[in-house]
Symmetry: C2
Subunit: 457 residues, 2 copies
């Protein structure tokens, strides 16, 4: 590790800042296209961390993510350690359950461990010729005009500089690369926080590693102004996330003692609380995370810098699309490089122009889905509407793919899916006043209304 010196890199070599999910997947794609790749990651190698970390934080992989993993041939390996979730199970305040499938019978999203997925990707990256990964390299500054990184080697606390010929910012929601672009002229940027934070909690495994709730579902405890969700882990536990206001009568600010937390959970999550033996420890030891949406434009600087993943478009987690959108960035970049014969300037221009409206739409849908999950899924009229939508979709499969499956189980650009979803919402607003039960759907007058809407679509 040369300290305080400048290392010149070859013209064709690529530097990726960030060795998380998107950075390591991108490294695989680029190395397989024949580029020398260097990955610089701020944190220590996650494969050297203990097994504890593997339990928490899971993600929902869906079709866009799978396609990106297929592109580098690792989808099957990951699928082995994922748990398919075929729908939502809603828990009401009396502990009663309602189910709602996500799509067709065999369509599922997969609960996977973020750390496990990252480790698998890093193993592949290290086996790939032409890629070098360096951990514990903190980016202090990016001089985009002179293509120069200022880095700190964390173990030795040594600051040094390094030239790059092409830099990919896959360094997440608080991207240092984006921070540098923000200081160039005419860079549009916004970071916007929800008034909600989140807290990770846990549901314990049952006897012999069994699951104490339905394993193949994403569980939701919708409570109007807040909610808890739970995703299954392989060891029989569930990782829960409480999405909760920072301030107000039911809020983080209002729960200050273990007794208050216990009482609150027994009151509002009565079926979950008994399954959470470490509730108060988790609640007070785990940090409260904040929920940010980041938008910016452009994503590139000339032909030398490109942002991808959360660095370009961090979204709130309520559609389970953050990682999937970042992975799709890799698929699309890979495809454009082929189409445009590695003309980087053209590729970057096309990429950001094509991709930006889609990630903007995804950002809106993610906030919208928060409202749906915490609030509307508890409403019988909303559940009836979802059932009617399924019937329409079954009757007119070519014309009507509901929003959730379109986002989750298709590769339709997000902006098109969102436009479709908004049209469908308008149609449902016209139809639902005529429908009071599932059976009403088969009434001739309702069928006529639906047929008319379909003809106008």
């Amino acid at each position: 590790m040369p300290a305080s010196s400048t290392v010149a890199t070859a013209e064709t070599s690529l530097t990726i800042l960030g060795g998380g999910l998107v950075g390591s997947l991108l490294a695989l794609y680029m190395a397989r296209r024949g580029f020398p790749v260097q990955v610089l990651e701020r944190r220590p190698d996650p494969r050297l961390a203990g097994p504890i970390e593997g339990r928490s934080i899971n993600l929902a992989l869906s079709d866009r993510g799978w396609r990106a993993l297929e592109g580098v041939g690792i989808a099957e390996e990951i699928r082995q350690v994922g748990i398919p979730m075929y729908g939502r199970v809603m828990h009401d305040q009396q502990g009663r359950l309602t189910s709602q499938p996500y799509g067709a019978k065999d369509q599922a999203i997969y609960s996977v461990s973020r750390a496990g997925l990252n480790r698998t990707l890093l193993d592949l990256v290290e086996q790939q010729p032409g890629v070098a990964v360096r951990f514990e390299q903190q980016c202090l500054n990016v001089d985009v005009r002179n293509r120069r990184l200022e880095l700190r080697d964390v173990p030795t606390d040594t600051v040094y500089e390094q030239q790059y010929s092409r830099l990919f910012g896959a360094d997440g929601a608080y991207s240092a690369v984006r921070g540098a672009l923000q200081k160039t002229d005419r860079f549009d940027y916004s970071q916007s926080y929800l008034e909600y934070g989140y807290k990770e909690l846990n549901i314990a495994a049952g006897p012999a590693g069994s699951w104490q709730l339905e394993k193949h579902a994403l569980h939701i405890w919708p409570r109007g102004q807040y909610m808890m969700i739970a995703l299954p882990n392989l060891d029989g536990t569930f990782t829960c996330t409480l999405f909760f206001p920072y301030e107000g009568p039911h809020s983080f600010a209002a729960l200050q003692t273990p007794a208050q937390v216990e009482f609150f959970f027994q009151e509002v999550f009565p079926d979950a609380a008994p399954l959470m033996p470490e509730l108060t420890e988790d609640f007070f030891q785990n940090p409260t995370g904040s929920l940010v949406t980041v938008r910016c434009f452009p994503w590139s600087y000339q032909d030398s810098v490109l942002l991808l993943g959360d660095a370009a478009h961090a979204i709130v987690p309520f559609y389970g699309q953050g990682m999937n959108a970042g992975f799709e960035d890799c698929t699309i970049l890979h495809q454009l490089l082929g189409e445009q014969d590695h003309d980087w300037q053209a590729v970057f221009d096309t990429f950001e122009r094509q991709r930006k409206p889609n990630t903007d739409a995804m950002a809106e849908m993610a906030v919208y889905n928060f409202e749906e999950m915490r609030d509307r899924v508890a409403d019988p009229r909303f559940l009836l509407q979802k059932k009617i939508e399924s019937k329409i979709s079954a009757q007119y499969p070519d014309q009507w793919v509901p929003l959730y499956p379109q986002v989750t189980f298709s590769h339709t650009p997000y902006a098109e899916a969102w436009a479709d979803g908004q049209r469908q919402d308008q149609i449902m607003a016209r139809l639902m006043p005529h429908i009071h039960s599932e059976a009403d759907y088969d009434q001739p007058e309702v069928q006529a209304l639906v047929a008319r809407e379909m003809a106008a679509l």
Copy 2:
């Protein structure tokens, strides 16, 4: 100047970053309340710069700005060197003129020199006991948790640290203080650029320092997708600003040679071009400025940091309210300090909560006025509508103050003015289909319609 050392300051002392218009006015207000004040300014003392600089960049002072200057007793002094502008004069492509008053007969906005105003404020600040101003002190970093500034003394290139007990960020649209707040958790932030840049140009004085256009007006050459404006200076010149797209058929990108610029100006600004002997030099020597709107929240960090002026709410210049809004910040802060007996935490909380909706509204109006100035003021129907609004306002003075005078000549909070303006727009949209000339206003059926609208207001 102690280098690389830490200077402890008294508990009550205030540090103001930025010695521009808002920073120096704030220093005056605070020093007169009895606080020891230190002002740190990045640039050299503008009073030591040559007279050239004084010619360019002028501002339109209006009532909110005047009130703030009155509060420190310098309004009359500034008014002596300001030029009242009683309305807009529009220049069409054939050189024909149309006038439009800004308000009542004696209501005017004042063209003043930014540099001259800044120099006057700095003179007062230096005469004020208890204030120290230090120029050429560049802020490199703000550690808000430890109340510590990292500064660079520019002439000696020496980096040093300094504690503060209370810090005011009056350091403009690219505020270093805001940059530090942006890194704290849950700080909402956006910077958004127009697709337009601006270029400062000049209209020469006539013989013996006379004005070659009407002196007491703001001149506009509205051309649909772009426009030029001109404000009078004391020396007979006018400072022009061309607001022009970066890209497209008529744009900065399309004008690459002096011949192209000459041809374009003679074509689209035929009455102005002959008055601009230095046009092509100015065009290619002056930088192209960008137009940004900055929004953020919160504006404070605990009771130790507060943003004001452009640092909190930079807006585009089309309503002439940027400086006026920053000055109004000083008036309101001063007032809250009196009301809340110097409880800084309470003052900061109230200030940002009360002020933010108003500056957000002002930001929207500034963009809206751009569209009006470049496009609608050239439309005869729009001009007729403005005349009808004046008649309504004259007939119902207590119920109808048009938006422009309400923003410019009143102290009504911006958000209230904007809400009023939007209601008035809706009313005019209902009335105008019934009105085809000024005389129509006196028709009984139109009078009846107006009376009905006023009764419902």
